[in-house]
Amino acid sequence: MRTLDTLLYALDGVRERKFRFALNIIGILIGGAAITSLLAITQGVNRDVSEQMELLGPTTIAVTPGGFGYGGKGFLTMKDMERVRRIPHVEVATPIISMSATVVIGGRTGIVSIVGVVPEEYLQVIKNIEVAEGRFIRRGDMAAAVLGANIAQPPGEEEPIVDVGSRIAVTIKTEEGIKKATYRVAGILKETGGAFIISPDDVIYISLRAAQQLFDMGNRIHRIAVEADAIENVEYVVEAIEDELGEGVLVISAGFVRETVGRITTSLQVLLGGVAAISLIVAGIGIVNTMTISVMERTREIGILKAVGAKNRDVLLIFLSEALITGLLGGVLGVLSGIFLGQVISSIAQLTYNIVLSPYITPTICFTVILFSSITGVLSGLYPAWRAANLNPVEALRYE
């Protein structure tokens, strides 16, 4: 029998049992859709992180104190920074102070990160900062602040809630009590979509000196942002900083972050894909079941086929084709539904947790899902098809 005729015959067979066929397809579809959407979301996270890393350049290195975070005991000092600055292949090393404060902007109160930087050095490291209005802070500014895009215009607002020139009030709690300061808005930044070390969209920048004064930091700083002179020297610089500052300091390069995120998303993909694959296996078992019933119901037809000269192989291929059609169609529909499902999941994540997930469908994902669905179909069809192929024709013809 010709391949095309086998396929057409198989198609005719599934058409006769539309409802059952549809159920099998839905089974595969659910599995395929789950795999597609989950893979696409983790792929999206990976892509987003990589893109941000790309934006920063692969030569950026962050030095943070080990242990627990900025507000904790871990501090670096200006002396540490000077030591880092002397390491060969370090082009820029710049201090950063970053602490939360209660801020009143345009009549609204919220807790925001206040970041103190040395502007000209900082901008050399964090390259995607652009001013939308006004100017960036200057080294000597003691009462000027620059607002990230989301601070000036919180998500969901149609208009900025503050203008260049207006004032913001900052309140912090210290051991001595409450401390207040007022800054004039010198500039508002364009949206950057986030960055390594600090997300410029969600912070208020002031000068390092102003920050030292506000938070009473003395010689202490929270981080050092470092720029190596070339990609091939990043690893050397990272190791040199670790040697110089000793244990308890966390040195992270963009490449390291990308690698780590890549590892995490890959593990997530395997985990989530594996869970979703279980549903595909369940669908496969459903196919085994319904096809076995189909073969029994069609025993007589199989007998007829054999009486008119069909070989075991012809019968086997007819039933395997049915299984393949089920898997293939389920896979294709699964990918399409998965693309849709990915959008739904990311919308839900955005609405309920304010997490931005942008599913990224790659041809590899589509191809893999369709391939696996088809394989599931064929594997599931193997046993029933084998049974059909090996039916004794005389008994099959006698079957009522």
Partner: protein
Amino acid sequence: MTEIIRAEGLVKEYIQGGRPVRALDGVDLAVEEGEFLAIMGPSGSGKSTLLHILGALDRPTEGRILIRGVDLSRLSDVELAELRNREIGFVFQFFNLIPRMDALSNVELPLAIAGIPREERRRRAIELLKLVGLGDRMTHRPSELSGGEQQRVAIARALANDPSIILCDEPTGNLDSKTGEEVIGLMKELNLKSGKTFIIVTHDPAVAQMTERILYLHDGRIVGEKRREMP
């Protein structure tokens, strides 16, 4: 005339309810090309078993069959399937058409299995359905056809690959006597016109009356033979 089928010492045993049953018990048989032969016998006499073995659907436990001198016991399952496809046509009591397919597609089935291209298949099926008098019912499904019409479709299907042997298992068993006579008449006509060999298993004496030779089967043995000169 040349001998087309030869069976020697055919024995067929199978297990039923845990006991061996001998359906055929040493059948010797020779059929000439172009014969129109009936096999008669009570139910359980082994008629259908014999027909299945002659048609290469089943293998005998002992003995051998030669079709045009070729020993079927030497053929593989694949070769037997090819033989069924090209050399043998079956007509059954319950027609055994595929219900979801129209008359044309049913007739095309053996041609499709033989790997004949679509257009040629269609042309041949139309030709055959016209030959059996169903030129105007070609796109009807079996459920839309009368018993006699269904059996005609089955005959057209049996003829599809122009086989030399047509094996019929109670072909009139499910038809009223008038329709049955018409169907046998059609077979006789095909036999005379194209020289195809017909072996008809039946217990209907009226059918047997139309054949040249009747073999009587009882308990798996041939117990008698009647030859008649046909007009």
